[in-house]
């Protein structure tokens, strides 16, 4: 169900309150493409890994509360984060199809003057760019083609898995991120472990295990010859950007591949610079982009 009206932006806790340069790049890209977004007083999505594992009932209720806020305004949600997208999509779907759960959640929401109806849709920004903006329109806004940039794509888990719930793109061979990166003129690089998780979730329980999963991913990307990694999830971004130094220490191997959010890649192609996008805020600094006009 595609609707081309303005959407409510769901940046998520991590982008909004920890790495806001990503939100800034997203808003720049949306402006250029004529995507209108409004802000809303959403709470935590909440986290499909952390909070759902802790208490599923609370996860469902808080997710439903966020959906109610959007329903009250009659607007669909566009999320900048895989985790938020998965939570909101899953809660929306579960409550739409399970009358028992819905009435249980609504009895809680009623006490704060809310009711879940199931009237809005949840978009990952990648889906919005593909379905509502379209690859052709994105190509038209490219003023600085990223020729010569070799980019490996990492969509992360919660963008298209579980496929039964997400119902978008392919759970193990996702294509849309590759298409969007290619639209900027950059070269998309294949690598063996493209479907592999970044490992951030395992790191929640034991940091070293998270690093082992990340190492397997990064080694495969190093082998592919890619110079950058495109991501669409802030948890993947933080795991891959923040932990390359830790991998280096632990395994005495060099890792120096900058992680770029898709919105940063698009903004670069639209003519924004390293400084405009505050790319120096990355842990692995994409220095080669500094003087690129």
């Amino acid at each position: 169900m595609a609707d081309s009206q303005e959407k409510l932006l769901f940046p998520g806790c991590m982008i909004g309150n920890r790495i806001p340069f990503i939100e800034a790049s997203a808003r720049k890209v949306f402006d250029k493409l004529g995507v209108k977004v409004l802000d809303a007083p959403f709470g935590c999505c909440p986290d499909p890994v952390g909070f759902q594992s802790t208490d599923k009932e609370s996860w469902l209720a808080l997710g439903a509360r966020n959906l109610c806020i959007a329903e009250e305004q009659g607007k669909s949600i566009v999320s900048l984060c895989n985790g938020c997208t998965q939570t909101l999509t899953a809660v929306n779907q579960k409550l739409k199809h399970d009358a028992h759960k819905k009435s249980k959640v609504n009895s809680m929401l009623n006490s704060v003057g809310k009711e879940f109806k199931g009237t809005i849709d949840v978009y990952h920004f990648v889906r919005l760019l593909k379905e509502e903006v379209g690859i052709n329109k994105i190509k038209e806004t490219v003023t600085n083609p990223l020729k010569g940039l070799k980019i490996a794509c990492h969509t992360g888990c919660h963008y298209s898995r579980p496929s039964e719930i997400m119902q978008y793109d392919d759970p193990f061979e996702p294509k849309v991120l590759r298409e969007l990166v290619a639209a900027t003129g950059a070269e998309v690089i294949d690598y063996e472990e493209e479907a592999l998780c970044c490992g951030v979730g395992a790191g929640n329980a034991e940091e070293d295990v998270g690093l082992l999963v990340l190492k397997r991913k990064m080694d495969s990307i190093v082998k592919s010859g890619a110079d950058y990694i495109a991501v669409i999830c802030p948890s993947c971004f933080q795991q891959m950007d923040g932990n390359q130094r830790n991998l280096q220490k632990k395994f005495e191997q060099e890792y120096d591949i900058p992680i770029l959010y898709l919105t940063e890649i698009l903004a670069l192609a639209m003519g924004y610079t390293y400084d405009d996008l505050n790319l120096r805020r990355h842990r692995v600094k994409p220095k080669a982009l500094q003087n690129k006009e």
Partner: protein, 172 residues
């Protein structure tokens, strides 16, 4: 380890699936063979064993009494869900098992800390003045404030506070 099935426990886990799909698990091990955490830990985390314990009603096999990583190794990457030939939503079962572990007080600190942060602030990562200043510099609007009272009201109804043994300020 005693192997006496716990019927209540079994029922609780089987009830996760309204369609009772878990019964169709024939222990083919595909979940474990595709699991990146099982691979990284030489099967110290093993999704197939959790499903076996759930089917047999053996909480000892499931709740990882001696090593909570046996359940908390699951990072909800949904790879096993996707590859299961019988469409069992393994992650749903693991979520329930982890929820039980939280109430038994055996969850890793990351999870309980995050839940307490949400209980107190309505967000997993609360707003900070340094970040708000940075947002302003980037030309971003302030992060809209969420209604924390409303969120706490809901979380008292789900009894998250009790499940976490959380003490509200007035109770301390």
């Amino acid at each position: 380890m005693t192997f006496v099935p716990n019927v209540e426990f079994k029922k609780k886990l089987l009830d996760v699936h309204l369609e009772d799909k878990i019964k169709y698990c024939y222990q083919c091990d595909r979940c474990t063979s595709v699991c990146p955490v099982a691979e990284a830990t030489n099967n110290r985390y093993n999704p197939r064993t959790i499903i076996m314990g759930a089917m047999l009603g053996l909480p000892q096999l499931v709740l990882g009494a001696e090593d909570n990583f046996k359940i908390w190794g699951c990072q909800v990457c949904d790879t096993c869900d996707e590859k299961c030939p019988n469409d069992i939503e393994l992650t749903e079962i693991f979520n329930l098992v982890k929820n039980i572990s939280v109430q038994q007080g055996t969850a890793p600190e990351y999870y309980t800390m995050q839940a307490k942060t949400i209980l107190e602030n309505g967000k997993a990562i609360p707003s900070q003045s340094a970040i708000e200043r940075r947002r302003k510099k980037y030309g971003l609007p302030p992060v809209p404030k969420c209604n924390v009272d409303e969120i706490q009201n809901i979380l008292k109804q789900t009894e998250l506070d009790k499940k976490l043994k959380y003490k509200w300020v007035e109770e301390q």
